[in-house]
Symmetry: C2
Subunit: 435 residues, 2 copies
């Protein structure tokens, strides 16, 4: 039996007789030759089948093979500089596992399909080259993020998905019936737990799915999305900004290093990614508001940025920008106020360039017990649910903070996608729970 290889490994098997299992991606014919184009999940390879080299019935079957039929091709690998990927296979034999029915053909054809049709067929759409490249870039981003934190002394501490209390209000929470009429909410952020973990481990991160029952349909929102959240004891806002900047640069660098082919398939302008270097421009909220007003936004001091505002701001810079010191009133109850100017919070947002908007939000947390108690009261939060969180300010409280980075928005930016729905295998949005 010939050795079984993958298309990605073909370079190491030139001149060898091997077999590759896969699916028919496309087929070209030219008289006494057919060129089945095979995909196997690792790549795409053109094969060459000569009528003279195969039994007549096999050649005929191959000639009429339908898209996405499953087959194993056996033959010799040959370098072919003109070919996609640089290699071809001269077919010696073929085993067809399933010919897709001609009367019920593979539904996704090279012609244009509408977004709804593609989303309904997401389980098949994932086989296309463009979707492959996006998912591979996503994988690289996740790996790079984890490597960054693992290599910088952070301990991974998974935070719970089922939470009894809300981190930031209850209107966008998904509710779950726990046992015996107890209620749980799906986490929107691991941050409160991260704070307990940071007091135990110094530097921690969590990385998992988070949920937001967002009733709006925008190109930036999913109801289920993945987020990485580092948290550091004994860290101030400047340190938080330093880590966020360093991590983003590391992640973009890794994708450029490992996934350049995929960025090419996605027709991403890599020059823009190569420009993602330190230092990121740093603006205060005050400066950002002035800038926006000058560019025609109707934002007033005290208001939060809309998607349009983020676009206006980020289009002026060639790299991500960091905006800090937002009004405390529009930020969460746990945000530490600036001691010199308590009306603003020691928080920071990182906005991706090219109009992609917020990818990171974070800041310093309140570590003073009395101030935290006051804020819980002001925000009319049920103190009982926060007793454990308050404990962290009683037993060795220290300045601390961190941030959260949304993976799907990061993938959308790095891949240059218009909508986050393509950044995850099975996106969940308003009214879309299937497949």
């Amino acid at each position: 039996m010939p050795q079984r290889i993958t298309i990605a490994d073909a370079a190491r098997h030139v001149g060898e007789s091997v077999e590759i299992p896969g699916w028919l991606y496309n087929l070209r014919k030219s008289g006494k030759i057919v060129f089945p184009i095979l995909r196997d999940g690792t790549g795409i390879m053109q094969c060459v089948a000569l009528k003279s080299a195969l039994p007549e019935d096999v050649f005929e079957e191959l000639k009429h093979l339908t898209q996405e039929s499953s087959l194993i091709v056996r033959g010799t690998i040959r370098a072919e500089p003109r070919a996609h990927g640089g290699y071809e296979m001269d077919i010696e034999s073929v085993e067809i596992l399933q010919k897709v029915s001609e009367s019920d053909p593979y539904p996704i054809t090279p012609k244009d399909h509408g977004v709804d049709f593609l989303m309904d067929h997401r389980h098949l759409w994932l086989r296309s080259q463009r979707q492959h490249s996006i998912i591979r870039v996503r994988h690289e981003i996740i790996k790079a993020v984890r490597d960054y934190f693992d290599d910088h002394g952070f301990t991974l501490v998974d935070t719970p998905i089922f939470t009894p209390a809300a981190c930031e209000g209850t209107t966008t929470l998904f509710e779950v019936n726990y046992f015996d009429n107890d209620k749980a909410y799906l986490t929107q952020s691991g941050q409160l737990y991260n704070e307990a973990d940071a007091m135990a481990f110094g530097k921690v991160y969590c990385f998992g799915p988070t949920f937001r029952a967002e009733k709006s349909k925008t190109r930036r929102h999913l109801t289920e999305f993945w987020m990485v959240e580092p948290e550091m004891a004994y860290a101030d806002l400047e340190e938080i900004k330093r880590v966020a900047e360093e991590m983003v640069i590391y992640v973009v660098g890794r994708v450029l290093e490992k996934r350049r082919e995929d960025l090419k398939i996605l027709e991403r302008d890599v020059a823009k990614l190569e420009g993602v270097q330190a230092p990121f421009p740093r603006l205060s909220y005050d400066e950002a508001v002035k800038n926006l007003q000058q560019h025609g936004s109707e934002i007033q001091w005290g208001g939060d940025f809309g998607g349009g505002d983020e676009t206006i701001l980020t289009q002026q810079f060639d790299r991500p920008i960091m905006v800090d010191r937002f009004p405390s009133a529009i930020k969460a109850f746990y945000m530490a106020p600036d001691p010199d100017r308590p009306e603003v919070a020691l928080g920071v947002d990182v906005l991706a360039p090219e109009g992609y908007g917020e990818i990171i939000g974070g800041g310093q947390r309140i570590h003073d017990l009395d101030l935290l108690l006051r804020r819980i009261e002001e925000h009319q939060l049920p103190r009982e649910a926060f007793e454990w969180y308050i404990d962290l300010r009683k037993y060795g409280t220290v300045p601390h903070g961190g941030f959260g980075m949304g993976i799907e928005r990061c993938v959308a930016w790095i891949c240059g996608l218009e909508h986050v729905r393509e950044t995850i295998a099975f996106p969940r949005i308003l009214y879309r729970l299937r497949p």
Copy 2:
């Protein structure tokens, strides 16, 4: 200002004057010397404070400092072979951030506390050395699992948490109100989606939280637990077993290599882990049932193993065992039957030694369209919900399979823990949703 370092990094700073921020873990006194034992999340270090070296008020404050008070110590690192960790600091100055109140002291003291008390104080309990070691081993296991799959050509494809249909029955599902009276269920397994992903990418894995509304309280069950699930196109049962075995050996090896200190703190018998080598004993279900009956179990052919059965079986071997070909009737609808003996399924369970029981379950999936349709009917599943899954058998179906490994059970086994509740930072079990 002296350089800020961590305790884990002390070895590289011997003879240097540095500062370490942390918390007071313990304090010994001896006349004109106090020995504050500092923890900073990366380790524990004894410091030495001479009365003659410090201002009198600082020395007095230090002398009466309470457990878990936050402080920054500054001084010179000295190698001290007799000390825990091998290094000590001669304190030159101290900055106390918060002295924990003597009237409301840190609730977890060196004395024994009951499990309920500790679980209620999980946010603080995580600061103890034993819990540190468990979480660090968990981190290493997760990292090793991901590295294994990343290095063996698997693509990470995150599967959805919100699912419209049940993978294995609905009795243990958590239900969520989606929008406008639609219902979603929290995933119990990414497998069905993994199968779509494997047809697109060849070899894939997903790794995330999964949920089971288990109404039983056992030492092996959480309602929220993490699972890694690889899935491979063109793979048969033997290949699935090979990958499972190789991965488990790799993971155990990595923990032994990187986390030996933590295993020591946990008083784990590492000789038992060092024995986890290929080949794992392979038993058929038939053989396992005979074995159990000989050892006094009341199991009959056709029944599933209870926790007690798993204990009996695994205590006979010095390494994990693989049991395959369970009765089809007790396995999920998608399990491929053995072509030579259709009453058994091409499934495999991996049981950890020392009585830890099942850590992996998997097998080959049905890839024949007609058989799958028959099974969906026999199991009275709503066909409409499975149309997308059926598509995978219409458009280039191939033999395929994979498995799932529960992370918490794996952590419990490798750490030698009696109960899974300590394997995750904030465990969720029946009637326990807090903190």
